[in-house]
């Protein structure tokens, strides 16, 4: 590695440092809070950036054994994975059609799908609750599997349209000249090239449903059906009493596995693609 490359690399890292601190510091603070003993946590003279009086796992044990946290997380996972997969499939085909094909009213259809995104959920959930009820899905996590795609599909569709357009048309046309059908061309040529876009859409769809709160709150209510965010805030915020330690333990436990998942996916797609492009 020559000197110029090395300096550049060090400079890049230095420039990244503020970003990393900004991103990680709140998480660090949450993790710290979840490990502090109450006495230290509520001591205003204590140093907030460190644990001085010794760490404790009591907030975690409270969360894991005295609440249904594991169950709620399982619900969250099920809802999120299903909603993401469904939305991704629907979004992919729709995006391909809207980005690549010429047919009747293609432009207004695209806009139409997008416009649904403008409707604020803050009140949409009321009439939507009615629809959920008609479907016979009141107080069921399946209501979430069905309704989450309403905000994920427009999102996936539009994100993927952007990526599909970056795939040069010629590549696809080449394949079709060689005798492939359109669907084969999509499956074998376009999708592999658009993998970064797909992963991106999947990750964000996953996160959006993982974080969703208002639908989860209104469409489900029994402890066997609710998701992690709803469960944790119901169990650990009681009137003006906040169980800060356990709340933050919930935040940590609900995010770490996903971060790990993300890192692997991201790594795969970014490195995979750059390698392909160089060839």
């Amino acid at each position: 590695m020559n000197r110029r490359v090395l300096t550049n690399r060090i400079l890049s890292h230095l420039a990244l440092l503020p970003f990393i601190i900004f991103a990680v510091f709140p998480f660090y603070h949450m993790a710290l809070t979840s490990l502090k003993q109450n006495r230290e946590l509520y001591d205003r003279n204590a140093v907030p950036l460190l644990i001085v009086q010794g760490p404790t796992l009591e907030h975690y044990t409270k969360l894991l054994w005295e609440t249904e946290f594991l169950n709620w997380t399982k619900n969250s996972l099920m809802v999120t994975v299903l909603a993401t997969v469904i939305s991704l499939v629907i979004g992919t085909v729709a995006a391909y059609a809207l980005a690549r094909l010429k047919f009747f009213a293609v432009g207004s259809l695209g806009t139409g799908i997008f416009v649904t995104y403008l409707v604020p959920t803050s009140l949409l959930f009321l009439p939507l609750a009615q629809v959920v009820n008609w479907l016979g899905l009141g107080d069921s996590k399946w209501a979430l599997v069905v309704t989450y795609p309403t905000f994920l599909v427009p999102f996936c569709t539009w994100l993927l349209m952007g990526y599909f357009r970056t795939v040069p048309k010629e590549v696809e046309e080449c394949a079709m000249v060689d005798g492939a059908t359109r669907i084969q061309a999509l499956w074998r040529i376009v999708l592999p090239i658009a993998v970064p876009g797909l992963v991106c859409a999947a990750l964000f769809a996953f996160t959006l449903s993982w974080n969703e709160f208002i639908y989860a709150l209104t469409f489900t209510s029994s402890s066997e059906q609710i998701t992690a965010s709803v469960g944790v805030t119901t169990e650990l915020i009681r009137g003006d009493i906040y169980y800060w330690g356990s709340l933050m333990a919930g935040a940590v436990l609900a995010s770490v596995p996903i971060v790990i998942l993300y890192v692997f996916f991201l790594d795969y797609y970014v490195s995979g693609l750059t390698a392909g492009a160089i060839k």
Binding site: F22, M30, L118, L123, P127, L128, G162, Y262
Partner: protein, 313 residues
């Protein structure tokens, strides 16, 4: 999945039919609608009705659990008389403008940096993604704990470094600081979306273009301006569009950190709509608040979509 289901259909059909079918599927005027229909059906079924219902609410005197009447645009007109609403209107533009602007600039910078050769690539990417992954309902609580007037770790740290003088700003109790605080949290949460989406766009730009530009003597700034930015525009346009909508309809951060205070200086449409529409049962007025900007947003979106499309072709 669509491919799978097509496969099932063709497998069970006679060869001639199969040939006809695949021919049809190769025609754009057929394949297009078939591909769009699942999305369309879903949205028509689950969004269209609620959407029109919400529209109806906004032009009626709907009140939770009571019969309602059509009252035209009276809600929209009357809202304008309320001090809280006018303040909210202004807040929304300040909040959205500042937050989206910052996210665009910081997001592009971060994406560019992440696209460099790095030593701890995985760890850095993971770290940058963290804010997006922690469930919002809980991460905003974490921030409110950080801004808490008694324990504010933010003030403690800034004091320790020597940036501010004691006692330090009263983050959530002073107008401008409160607005700054909620904007900071919004940037924190939204930045990963920008950075990672743009990174995916950056990665897709063929290396040859940069090499060619470099051979023509273009410096790094020129390369960014004439190669990166034009090719990123499509993705950037869509990301900005989505982010604008996300940010405009922000609810959680405000609700948890300030409840709209102090003196309504951080209320946004969603929080005010909840205050009026749900907590007091006046869903008609609440819907009007939520939908106040709908026509304006439509126009913005339409213009932006046209722009995005032009960029693409």
């Amino acid at each position: 999945m669509a491919i799978g289901s097509v496969g099932v259909v063709t497998a069970s059909a006679r060869p001639s039919l199969r040939a006809r079918l695949s021919e049809l599927l190769d025609r754009e005027s057929w394949l297009g609608p078939i591909f769009v229909s699942p999305a369309l059906v879903l949205l028509l079924l689950l969004v269209a009705y609620p959407f029109f219902m919400a529209l109806y609410f906004s032009v009626s005197n709907a009140f939770i659990g009571r019969p309602s009447n059509f009252i035209g645009i009276r809600n929209f007109v009357r809202l304008w008389e309320s001090d809280a609403f006018r303040q909210t209107f202004q807040n929304a533009f300040v909040f959205c403008g500042a937050a989206v602007g910052a996210k665009v600039v910081l997001g592009i910078s971060l994406a560019l940096l992440l696209n460099q050769q790095l030593w701890f690539k995985r760890m850095i990417r993971g770290a940058v993604l963290l804010p997006w992954v922690i469930p919002t309902a809980l991460s905003t609580l974490g921030w409110s704990w950080m801004f808490n007037s008694l324990y504010s770790v933010v003030n403690w740290t800034l004091l320790a470094i020597g940036i501010i003088d004691p006692p330090g700003p009263n983050w959530l109790g002073q107008k401008y600081y409160a607005m700054a605080a909620v904007i900071i949290v919004n940037i924190w949460r939204g930045l990963p979306f920008f950075a990672i989406t743009l990174l995916a766009g950056l990665v897709a730009i063929p290396k040859e273009l940069y090499e060619a530009a470099e051979a023509d003597g273009a410096g790094p700034i020129a390369r960014f301006w004439y190669v990166t930015l034009p090719l990123l525009k499509g993705v950037l346009g869509i990301v900005v569009l989505f982010s604008t909508i996300f940010t405009f309809s922000e609810f959680n951060i405000i609700y948890v950190l300030t409840h709209g205070g102090p003196m309504n200086s951080t209320h946004l449409f969603a929080t005010l709509a909840r205050q009026v529409g749900l907590e007091t049962g006046r869903i008609g007025e609440g819907a009007a608040i939520s939908l106040y900007l709908f026509p304006a947003l439509m126009i913005v979106v339409w213009a932006q979509l046209r722009f995005v499309r032009k960029q693409a072709y």
